[in-house]
């Protein structure tokens, strides 16, 4: 509408400032679940989580606008325009405010991301817009039925409670009816389809109920007379749609857990070779650090091969459970297809120069990369060492040392101490400067590790195998 009245006198005009401030405060303050780390799916999900503030305000503004139409007696004024046009003329600025708030939230999230290749996830945004429209309809219906003194606070408080209370309730899937992509996502996750269709369908169900209620009300502006055949037809269709979408919404989310996530497709990984037999793969939002990661891996492989830890076929950000790597002949064009890590002998020891036999080292290493520059190369290396230590300790073929203490507590203590030694030693062998490692680890722990590092490769390989066995004393 070009009428100034639809902007200047609209409730959205008054609500815009406070709402946008709240959204900005939320976007920049809310750190639950960590930052999106350049991953747009996570970033979009975080941005639309501001719906917990936006939706109630939109509903309250819609209720106020419906109240204005009601007080102005538009319904009894025999309008030529249809009810939908009249409602939308008043509600379009409100909807625009909701969309603007979503945009501000999205921009705020983008500002907080170091790098963000690609675009916001359109499916999440679409579900958020549908949810917003649902609340617009609910607010309008409340405003048609109740005086503003009741409808506005009811829309505001009720809308907020609807957004924030279900996550505290069982069953867990209940929360996914209220907001798209709730709990989404870490880098390894994609948004679950039910986490998008569920809340969108629930919003359509709410909107259908609201339309039915408005069609029944004698106070709703309309072209035809209330109670006419058309009103009855609209009510019946709206209730039918509300029932069908309500049932479909519950079915869509009933299989979800606390977070609306699914495994992220390995096809998205961006890969490069780090030597003849090793391929390094990171998520596209970390592609800018791929060369740096490859260098870290190359250094680690070169440092670990002489002590019997074979170069892996794959170093990837994809978690173990989901990864499967099938190296092509020559190891040049391997493809990540999703699957499980292998735990066997080294595949290719060309980089090690035929040094000690490998120790059941994993064929896949997991690596952690972050887009933020505050996450340094040392952090990547430390993450690699930690993940590798974990994989080695979890290796199924390992047998505990024969001299494990009989007392379980002592055995556990010895096992954990050995695991810490192993972690520190792996970090240094993987390329961490000894001084940096000394600063990172407990001085007492460092005494044993420093002594081991002073030995030659063969001695270190023997120390490594013995420490690994000692770590096996810890209960599993």
């Amino acid at each position: 509408m070009v009428f100034r009245l639809h902007l200047r006198a609209n409730a959205a005009f008054a609500a815009a400032g406070p709402l946008l401030v709240v959204v900005l405060l939320y976007v920049f303050a809310e750190e639950v679940g960590g930052g999106p780390d350049g991953y747009w799916v996570a970033g979009t999900a975080k941005a639309v989580s501001a719906l917990m503030f936006i939706a109630p305000v939109v509903a309250a503004c819609a209720a106020w606008e419906a109240g204005r139409l009601r007080r102005a007696g538009v319904a009894g004024g025999a309008p030529v325009r249809g009810g939908f046009r009249i409602a939308m003329a008043s509600l379009s600025p409100v909807l625009a405010l909701g969309l603007l708030a979503l945009l501000v939230s999205l921009v705020g999230v983008r500002v907080g991301m170091a790098a963000a290749p690609g675009w916001p996830e359109p499916t999440i945004l679409a579900a958020a817009v549908v949810t917003l429209c649902g609340w617009l309809a609910v607010g309008y219906a409340l405003g048609v039925w109740l005086p503003p003194a009741a409808s506005v606070p009811l829309a505001l408080v009720g809308g907020y409670l609807w957004q924030v209370y279900p996550p505290a309730l069982e069953p867990l899937w209940l929360r996914h009816l209220t907001q798209p992509a709730r709990g989404c996502c870490t880098s390894a996750d994609a948004v679950a389809a039910g986490g998008l269709s569920g809340p969108a369908l629930a919003a359509v169900a709410l909107a259908g109920t609201a339309v039915a209620a408005a069609a029944l009300s004698r106070r709703a502006p309309r072209r035809g007379a209330p109670g006419g055949a058309r009103s009855v037809l609209v009510t019946a269709v709206a209730l039918l749609v509300a029932s069908a979408t309500g049932v479909a919404a519950v079915r869509a989310v009933s299989g979800l857990g606390p977070d609306a996530v699914a495994a992220r497709s390995a096809d998205e990984l961006v890969c490069a070779d780090a030597g003849a037999a090793t391929r390094v793969c990171v998520w596209p939002e970390h592609e800018r650090r791929l060369d740096e990661t490859v260098e870290v891996v190359r250094t680690a492989v070169a440092g670990l091969a002489p002590v019997g830890i074979a170069p892996p076929a794959l170093v990837t950000e994809l978690p173990h459970q989901a990864a499967q790597y099938e190296p092509a002949a020559g190891g040049e064009d391997g493809a990540v297809t999703g699957g499980a890590v292998t735990d066997g002998a080294a595949t290719d020891d060309s980089a090690s120069g035929g040094t000690p036999p490998s120790t059941g080292s994993p064929d896949q290493w997991t690596i952690t990369v972050r887009a933020a520059t505050s996450f340094t190369t040392d952090d990547i290396r430390a993450g690699l060492a930690a993940d590798l230590a974990g994989a080695l300790l979890d290796g199924g073929s390992r047998t505990p040392a024969a001299d494990c203490p009989a007392d379980p507590a002592d055995a556990a203590d010895q096992g954990f101490q050995a695991a810490n030694h192993l972690f520190a030693w792996l970090a240094v062998r993987a390329g961490t400067e000894p001084q940096e490692a000394r600063d990172r680890f407990d001085p007492q722990l460092w005494t044993a590790v420093g002594a081991a590092l002073d030995g030659d490769d063969a001695a270190q390989a023997a120390w490594f195998r013995a420490t690994l066995d000692r770590a096996g004393c810890a209960p599993r």
């Binding site: 009245l5 538009v74 025999a78 309008p79 030529v80 007379a225």
Partner: protein, 248 residues
């Protein structure tokens, strides 16, 4: 061309019959609709405005029948409607309120915005165009209501008790408004006030018990006053004569 009622019956939900097979046509020009409380005046005007749909029978304005969906838009555009309660739309200025009414009646936005000022000028409120409608007096607000019916160039304007609650000065101003309005449209006004019938209106319709008791010119109505009616009270006397004893 005017509004015709044909075997028109109306009953509100769970209520008694308000109109029972009413058939008559309002004459063209300025017509006053008189009748006691509960006579069905507001119902007749709301039906004529198509704000209500008759339980049975039909209402027409010329060739337009509001019950025919394709004719409803044209019907409502041609018929302006000033209900008993004129309310200021919260937050709107007079010009905005009039423009909004024009838009509701199907005018294009720009056309309604441009037409609002001449409409306000016609009711003597051009100077208050940018003032909040909620700050106006009751009489001024009714004139805004009249401007709302003028902005979309209605050919027939229906006003339900527009002078109720107005002081004598405001009633005089309103009379001038009706006179000016009648230059561009037929006007039907329901009222309880009979003192200024002769100056303002051409025709009189008296409604009681859901039936038309009188329909004719103001002169014919005046002639119904019994001989010896007090000077200046002829209309009251004629009205009482039409209704008969005990009706009012």
């Amino acid at each position: 061309m005017s509004v015709e009622f044909e075997s028109c019956t109306h009953r509100y939900r769970r209520g008694p019959l308000v109109l029972d097979r009413l058939s008559f046509a309002f004459p063209a020009g300025r017509t006053v609709l008189l009748g006691p409380n509960g006579a069905g005046k507001s119902t007749v005007l709301a039906l004529a405005a198509s704000a209500l749909r008759p339980s049975a029978g039909s209402v027409r304005f010329g060739a337009l029948d509001p019950a025919v969906r394709s004719q409803l838009r044209s019907y409502r555009r041609d018929v302006g409607w000033l209900p008993q309660q004129v309310t200021a739309v919260p937050g709107m200025t007079c010009r905005e309120q009039v423009a909004y009414a024009g838009w509701l009646k199907g005018m294009a936005r720009g056309e309604a915005w441009t037409g609002a000022v001449p409409a306000l000028d016609r009711v003597g409120l051009a100077k208050k165009a940018d003032q909040q409608a909620s700050s106006l007096s009751g009489g001024q607000l009714r004139r805004v209501g009249v401007a709302q019916t003028l902005v979309h160039a209605a050919r027939l304007v229906l006003m339900d008790e527009p002078t109720a609650g107005l002081d004598p000065a405001q009633r005089t101003a309103f009379r001038r408004t009706v006179e000016r309005l009648s230059e561009v449209a037929d006007v039907i006004v329901s009222t309880h006030q009979t003192e200024d019938l002769w100056e303002v209106y051409d025709h009189v319709v008296v409604l009681a018990g859901g039936t038309v008791r009188f329909l004719g010119t103001v002169d014919a109505f005046r002639a119904l006053a019994p001989p010896g009616a007090a000077a200046g009270r002829e209309a009251e006397a004629a009205y009482a004569a039409v209704l008969g004893d005990g009706e009012e």
